[in-house]
Amino acid sequence: MARRRLLAWIGLALAVALSQNAPARADIGVETPWHPAAAAYRSMMFLGDLKPVVWDQIGTAYESPHPAAAVSRPAKIYFESLKGSAADAIVKAIAAKNRQALYEAATRATSQLTRQALAEAADSLTMPGKAHQKVMEAQTLYRSFGEFIDQTDPEAGKRLGRAWLELTSSVGSQGVLGTGAVAPELEVFAAARKVIEDYLAANYEPERFTARERLTPLPESVAAAQAEVKVRPWLPPGSNLNNQDPLPKLVLNFEEREIKETDLPLVAYGDMLFDSPLIFGEPARSLGLACSSCHNRSDVNQTFFIPGISHQKGAIDTRGSFFNPLFNDHRRGSLDIPSLRGLRFTAPYGRDGRFGSLRDFTRNVIVSEFAGNEPTPFMLDALVAYMIEFDFLPNDKLDKRGELTEKASASAVRGAKLFRKPFPQMDGKACATCHIPSANFLDRKAHDIGSARPSYEGGRDGAFDTPTLLGAKFTAPYFHDGSMPTLASVVDWFNDRYKLKLRKTELADLTAYLETIGDANEPYQKFEGKKTKFRLDWEELTTFASTFETLLPKRDAKHADLMLETVATDLAADASGMANTAAKPKVYEVAGLLSDVRKAIVADDWAAAEKSWARFKEFQAKYDEEMY
């Protein structure tokens, strides 16, 4: 079955708080480009809250063009354009590694930039095109603060939101060749500008800031009141939790045997949990992070990225301060995300093989890494039941014993011999000694091959679990830290590290062999016509819902509630990607019926739950043809 996940649509200009409890998710999510200064500001505040603080990356966010910005211009250029010492104060705070000083300097400067753009708009009102442009620029800077004002000072958020509307409406229009030109409304503009500027000056440029434990830019009035406020977890600009494109093909053992998932309720429930952010705690839960966010379709999501937490795309530090401060190991340990294909053959688990049991590993991910509540035995059983269905991608260049077939190239065949050749420089071992062809190209052991430096003198912590080479053509980059971009670079690394003295043709042959055994007949999911991504989601989510047939007779409210919330939320969100947009309201209707089931269960009214469930099944069948 499919999987996804999300993107926190990070701070659209006037976005107001979503439901506080509902995970934010999306299959389609393109982050609106940021103003360079706003991008840097939000990044610096996020990175400043990590423990340990990543000061080098804060410096980079300030000094270098931001990848999520609309233009490749360093933020410092904008801050340096301000009168006074605003930019110097930011630089000094970074040099001094002083979080409070950084918050104060960067916040003041960003607010000043916003007000400066408004002042320029006011000065340009005789040129409506330019004035409009400056108002829009001011709005993109205000995005630095907007969502936090909306969430923690909602009354002001609405007042300011209306003021922005007054500004964009009163600025006038130049029309086209003079046609349709609209004169600016000066008084309306001035009044709206005053509303925004007064609030910014009071809350983001106060004489004295309250000391901040967290650098989320709350209005000063809110921070000073020191009341408990809830702020939705947020990620810095440039984060990407979306699915990769093309979508990897998922190979499930039962499906290949033509067994229906609806006949395997434990597996189907595990499939649902694999996609559910609700098994995690905050902040992962509200950000919509699920197992499938990283291990999309049992494979690796090579585009996953969170600045400060991922050292590169397709990597994550699961033991940092962000997801579970209690589990913070205070190391910058971002690792390449591994594929889970063939998971039942790849024990032990964890990059260094620290968990022998998949069940223990899974619990560790939920509870320790992502701060979730203790999963029930049923949940762990279900997750394991689902994950052990992950099969390797079929590859007709390889037989079941791991030998090449006649479809392999001559170069790959030559490479196969090298792969099996013992080298004295490797203690008489061959590549195949650890990557055993008949054992899915792994040996279930951890070896120190020299790919990582010991973390302290005399340390012996550089050993990593032998990874399978099956499907490897599609899982770049390689090594525990993703430091090798291609299979060819891996071959080169071994040649250099162990002084194997392979000739160029031999290096090419060995690479060809790795690319052949790591190949697949059909690595990606195909979509065409009505077989859309949403169709895949629809089939998957209704399969998840089918587990209610098992939970209902047991009156299992806890697990039914978790499933129903996951499916109802996902269905409604996934409808945004429909090709058949006319049928979107029908998806909302069906999702609403699942919510009705849930409400009835919460009220312990199982008769009402059964009634809504029957209606859900009726409408699922009725609308099925339109679901694409």
């Binding site: 442009q133 829009m136 620029e137 060749l177 349709g180 909302y588």
Partner: protein, 293 residues
Amino acid sequence: MTRLTIDRRALVLAGLAIAAAPLAPALAQKRKELVLAFIPQENPEKLQGDIKVISAWLAKEIGVPVRGFVGSDHAAAVEALRNNDADISFMGALPYVIANAQTGAVAVLAEVYRGSPAYTGRIFVRRDSAIAQLADLRGKAIAFADPISESGYLYPLDIFVESGLLQRGEDPKRFFGKVYFAGGYQQAMQAMQAGLVDAAGVSQYADLLLTPDQQPQVKWIAESKPIPSHVVIARKDLDPALKAKFVAAMLKLNEPQNVALLKHVYSPDGYVAADPKSFDGVRELAKAYGLMN
């Protein structure tokens, strides 16, 4: 999301032109090249890359050098066509009919999106609001995108005329309590979703600009007549042979081996030859609202 991105070029994030220095047009009269005037979009650097790709491909197809530049907005593009600083531009039907009337520029191609060279404007409201029909919006606040926009103003406004709630050309403030121009579809939709206004009058596809979690929170209650899709227009005096070559090349983008290039010209599904009659309705509305004589 062609409908969305096209208008957003000029309206939504024009502010981000902040640091994207528009490339200067050259004097057309003296050049032996085809010059395309593009409208800014939300990601100016991506647009510069797109221009390079599509210009190179067109040059190869047409056999003359092709160059593109980004104007500051629709008005600047029309100005460039009028001054012979550009030969071709991309825009919505309303700026086109104004450009046609004032400069003689002609529509040569129409974009196809979701299988159609037309789309609609809609009135969106919050799903949990008490507003069920247009009349419920009397005295309420509405956000449109921009006063010079067919799907972001004129057509959605005209829905109220067709319903008998407004007269054509009448000040909409006589019906609504407040009328805003939010600057773009996305801003108008967000203002409505956030409860800052009661309704948004925008393109039928504007709900896709909300987050997937916000989209179920809104619904539309009325739809306009079909609006011709966005067009590719040529200046009045462009050499007919060169114009024909350009059109033929652009139509080749519909072929399977070339469709990937469409993402470099605002991502339509494809192009068809523009139908001059399809703009009659736009002209009629533009006249009714005082935008044309």
